[in-house]
């Protein structure tokens, strides 16, 4: 037997198989343990701060006591605003790229733009938002400026996920619709988009999580250290979880006294982002249940 001559006896093969699998498993465990360590660290330091009043009250006594309600509100408002900005633009661009665009210089430029946009550091988005939305458009430091800035930041994510979802929709759906006398736009709207929607929504929700966690862009464009009441217009500043942590940990006069609050806030933010990711998973699972392609 050639295999035996070449030294590929079963026991050696099995040993190699075991070694290979062992290292692959090890990497998996390592990745999971990094996540677990992070979570454990946050829970160990921050869980003590998590009380009902922490989640439902405004900060008190120079932020050394009370809760983080306005920061949670602010983060939610800003992320939803970002989503409202990025989804129409992103879905539109994705439909163009996946369905209409023929390879050419224009498409290359668009793709290059999207690709590079996702590599731009978030602090640059912050500066850009400050220059364009806050100053040039005169929105001031506001929910509007922050939402638009965050929206641009997550745009590449939305475009990429949506384009992928559209490309995974079987060509046969398009052919079927066209052969029945649908125009291209009708075929896309009535057949392709409904089929691609789960994937597109998943991308959008994941992008929402990304927006919720960002700090630098809103430091420049939207967030303030403290508010007394919920915002009444999109031209007001808001607090946000990420910048609240930053402020407590770097700007306050009571940095050491507020450690627990910092970790509590960070834990809340992480829970929010993980919750959004879970939503994405559930939405995708629900919408995909009836599909078989």
């Amino acid at each position: 037997m050639l295999a035996a001559k070449k030294g590929f006896e079963p026991h050696r093969r099995r040993r190699r198989e075991f070694a290979g699998l062992f290292f692959i498993r090890l990497t998996g465990v390592l990745v999971a343990s990094v996540m677990a360590a992070l979570l454990g660290f946050l829970i160990f330091n921050g869980a003590g701060a998590l009380t009902w009043s922490f989640l439902t009250e405004y900060p008190r006594e120079g932020m050394t006591a009370g809760g983080i309600l306005p920061a949670m509100e602010g983060t939610l408002i800003l992320s939803l605003g970002a989503l409202l900005t990025a989804v129409p633009l992103g879905f539109g661009a994705a439909v163009y790229l996946a369905e209409y665009a023929r390879p050419g210089p224009l498409v290359s430029v668009i793709r290059l733009g999207v690709l590079n946009l996702s590599g731009v550091p978030s602090v640059v988005f912050g500066l850009f938002g400050l220059a364009l939305f806050v100053k040039t458009f005169g929105f001031g430091r506001s929910i509007l400026a922050g939402s638009l800035t965050l929206g641009l930041l997550i745009l590449p994510t939305v475009v990429a996920a949506s384009e992928e979802a559209l490309r995974q929709t079987p060509q046969s759906f398009r052919e079927a619709a066209l052969a029945l006398g649908a125009s291209r736009w009708q075929a896309i709207r009535q057949v392709v988009l409904p089929a691609a929607l789960p994937g597109m929504l998943t991308g959008a929700i994941l992008a929402l999580g990304r927006a919720a966690g960002e700090t630098a862009p809103i430091v420049f464009t939207a967030s303030c250290a403290f508010t007394l009441a919920a915002p009444e217009s999109v031209f007001q500043e808001v607090m946000a979880l990420s910048t609240h942590v930053l402020n407590l940990a770097t700007n306050g006069t009571h940095i050491e006294e507020t450690r627990a609050l910092q970790f509590g806030t960070a834990l809340t933010l992480l829970a929010l982002v993980l919750g959004l990711s879970m939503c994405a998973i559930i939405v995708r699972a629900k919408l995909r249940k009836g599909r078989r392609w």
Binding site: E175, L180, V191
Partner: protein
């Protein structure tokens, strides 16, 4: 003369290119009304390409180029006044793999009628029943109309696709290897439907026995040329061309 009046599709000197590839070479053919016309030939011979030219499904292929003329019921398929959407409503198509939409059976059948603005429930109900009866599927699915078409068997799915095409009451039905993804029993049902429908049908098939069983006329394509076209029985028993004879006797392809 009588035969000429029954011409429903007429192609004159059709050349077709995918980029540099000369896919069809000088095809001229007259296809008759209310007959089943089979197109046979080895893979890559151009038969499917020709079929897709008839309802302009090649429009979206980059680098495609056409010369020559195709008339359907006397009006040009390609030309400044030709409207591909209108042509596709007149010339239905059934594809190689069943491709129902991920919607209910009912909504699948209604897709075409709704596109042309039919909205009234009774009218749609009647069209659905008529189309499903015509596709010999009514008795099997009449109580399942709200069920997803994706839940049906392959043969039933293909007949939903046939019904979906028939709901627009097309003058011509194009079928691109409609049974190649089906099991023998489902194939028999679809073939039975084709033989008895009375419609003008052009069917591309890989399967010579199928062409012999169901078609009135057969066209043999080879390397982008239409080698022979004629009465099915004659073509299979007394082919005029050597290449046809070699193909149908299994010497190549």
């Amino acid at each position: 003369m009588a035969e000429e009046n029954r011409t429903v599709i007429s192609a004159r000197d059709v050349d077709f290119y995918y980029g540099d590839f000369h896919a069809l070479k000088g095809i001229s053919i007259d296809i008759l009304e209310n007959e089943v016309t089979a197109m046979i030939g080895p893979s890559g011979c151009g038969k499917s390409t020709f079929l897709k030219l008839l309802n302009r499904m090649n429009d979206f292929v980059p680098g495609a180029r056409l010369a020559g003329e195709i008339l359907i019921q006397g009006s040009p398929v390609y030309g400044p006044d030709a409207d591909p959407v209108e042509i596709r409503r007149r010339v239905g198509m059934v594809f190689q793999r069943p491709n129902p939409f991920p919607k209910s059976i009912y909504d699948n059948i209604c897709y075409g009628p709704r596109l042309i603005g039919i909205r009234r429930r009774q009218e749609l109900d009647a069209l659905v029943e008529k189309a499903l009866r015509a596709a010999a599927l009514w008795d099997e699915v009449k109580d399942l109309l709200g069920k997803s078409a994706m839940d049906l068997s392959g043969g039933q799915q293909q007949r939903v696709c046939i019904a979906r095409a028939l709901a627009l009451e097309p003058d011509i039905l194009l079928m691109d290897e409609p049974t190649s993804a089906l099991d023998p029993i489902a194939t028999a049902k679809v073939e039975e439907w084709i033989k008895t429908s009375g419609l003008s049908i052009v069917i591309v098939t890989h399967n010579m026995q199928q062409a012999a069983r169901i078609s009135d006329r057969t066209a043999f394509f080879y390397m982008g040329e239409l080698v022979e076209f004629g009465n099915t029985r004659e073509l299979f028993t007394r082919p005029r061309e050597k290449r046809t004879e070699n193909y149908i006797t299994g010497r190549f392809g």
